[in-house]
Amino acid sequence: MIKYLVRRTLGWLLMIVVATNVTYFLAWSFLDPHSNYVGRKPPMSPEQIENLLRPRNLDASVPLMDRWWTWFSGIITRWDWGMSPTGGSVNEQVAFRMWISAELVLGATIIATLLGIWIGVYTASRQYRLGDRIWQGVSIVTMNVNIIVAGLAVVILAINFNNWVGTRVFYVTGSSTEGVTGFFPVIIDALQHLILPTIALVIIGYAQYHFLQRTLLLDNISADYVRTARAKGLTKQQAVRRHALRTSLIPVATQVAFSIPGIFTGAILTETIFAWQGMGRYFLTTINGNDVHGVVAVAAFGAVLTAVGALLADIAVVVLDPRVRVS
């Protein structure tokens, strides 16, 4: 099992390296840091711009392969992801932003998965009854609501709720308040900020697991081994939980891995709506600021999130599926 996971990890690592390098060349073909200095008053001469950009490894007059090698060897030897056109370090920016995005993306993924599976199990054991029909209708709407609409609707509701209660229960901007100290105040403050974007991401994200889990469980509920379990004397609840659910969870686990890039895209939009200074916002500022190194760092972060999700799914499959443990 360890060997299997190590092999998967190495495979993903290779994919991340390739994807990051491809993004580097792509970013250079679309972004030009020189254009940041066009139209300055007083105008800057091309030499001045080059002298400014060359130490930051962003000078387009240096051959592309040389720039790439300086950048790539910097990451390999010093874990240095380069500098932005304004001179700031990409490492510093990513270091604090990545945790902000990670808590949003991973938190929303976990909650959406658990909620989706729970609703899937609930509706599958009540097929075509009222509860199933209602959830079916709710899920098909929420799954097809745009994340922007969901996010802004949550903001409007939260503002109304705050006005109705009279105090600020939910914060609609930022990921934390300045100057909060102490263990519990910090946690409560973080939750007050985190809850709204997480709700928005969960609303649009859970339904796919609901539908998948419901279909899979319905296929398994009528299988022979579940009937055997019932015949042994297990209640329907126990038979579903211990036998049918276990087999039908495996495809759901793999689905989770492939939905993480989508959730990250959703996080780019939610961070814009809720004014979080996470990787999503960084993505926008780097593209607008022709910050090649920053763009590549965001791409690498997205790839790492996908890989983490895929590995978690692999571990879940190993735990759930005895056949994988044997091989």
Partner: protein
């Protein structure tokens, strides 16, 4: 044998009449069957009606409205819904009813273009990879798997930002980043289709490879393609609005639902109607298309028992 042996009063044993059920109905055509099954799914019918109404709104209103897109009504700056301006006006005095219709039209055009392109491209690439086997199949799969790892939203943002908001370039870029996932699904389906007798028969008749793909393989996954097309419209609308919302998609003077919601988001507390109406149009569009896709899946699936016979 003499005829007296048969006693006319003794009747042969009568079983249940098995012929009676088959006689009365005349055979249904394929399309009647599909329509009948589709009509049975009430939410899907509602979806079609909503979608048609939205399409009419987006085509007719920009032609008939008394306000042009860039007309400014200086007596009504940022006012709420009123008899003159049904959906209110924005801070520049532009009529929101017209803006929403034009934005919807642009979003629909992008979505339909992208969905047609993605469906066609993924069908041809997926089936061709399965049919030609060997080197072609290997290379196609390597490209597909590679594209699955590359951050596609980032590529999309880079390309469309570079294009300066031209919707045709955005559509092309969106086709490029979304064809490979359906192509892989179609490839797995085509793996079993390529083993069918009619494919062998066509090959022995001397039909060329590409012709077999286009005339025999692609039509046989037709029902999947129809469903993929409707779901593709939903996906494309979502992606386009996301891009335009963050300012990398459609840009002024052109508007789409995403950019309208983006402007509305800035004034969501002071002028909420600028957010409500484009958001409502967007939600109706995506939800109605999803309901249609659901109904089509029931109608086109040969093993479907979508509540009733036939």
């Amino acid at each position: 044998m003499s005829t007296e042996m048969i006693d006319p009063t003794v009747q042969p044993p009568v079983g249940p009449d098995t012929t009676a059920e088959r006689i009365p109905t005349k055979q249904l055509s394929k399309w009647t069957l599909y329509t009948r099954r589709f009509m049975r799914n009430k939410p899907a019918v509602a979806g079609v009606i909503i979608f048609i109404l939205m399409a009419i709104y987006s085509v007719v209103v920009p032609l008939l409205t008394p306000y042009k897109l860039d007309d400014q009504d200086f007596l009504n700056l940022s006012t709420g819904p009123s008899p003159e301006h049904w959906f209110g006006t924005n801070a520049g005095g532009n009529d929101n009813w017209t803006l929403t219709a034009v934005g919807l039209q642009r979003s629909l055009m992008i979505a339909l273009t992208v969905s047609v392109g993605v469906t066609a491209l993924s069908a041809i690439v997926g089936t061709a990879a399965a049919y030609f086997r060997g080197r072609v199949e290997q290379i196609t799969l390597i490209i597909i798997h590679f594209l699955m790892v590359v951050p596609t939203f980032l590529i999309l943002a880079l390309v469309s930002n570079d294009a300066g908001g031209d919707w045709r370039v955005i559509s092309l870029a969106m086709i490029f980043v979304s064809w490979f996932f359906p192509a892989r699904v179609i490839w797995t389906l085509a793996l079993s289709l390529r083993e069918r007798e009619y494919i062998d028969a066509a090959r022995y008749m001397g039909v060329s490879g590409m012709r077999i793909v286009l005339r025999h393989l692609v039509p046989n996954i037709g029902s999947l393609l129809v469903i993929n097309f409707t779901l593709g419209v939903v996906g494309a609308v979502m992606t386009e609005t996301g891009l335009s919302f963050i300012g990398f998609g459609v840009k002024l003077p052109d508007v789409s639902l995403g950019s309208l919601i983006g402007y509305g988001a800035a004034s969501v507390t002071s002028a909420p109607w600028l957010f409500y109406f484009p958001a409502l149009a967007l939600t109706l569009l995506t939800v109605s298309m999803a309901l249609v896709a659901d109904g089509l899946r029931d109608a086109l699936d040969p093993t479907s028992a979508a509540g009733g016979r036939a």
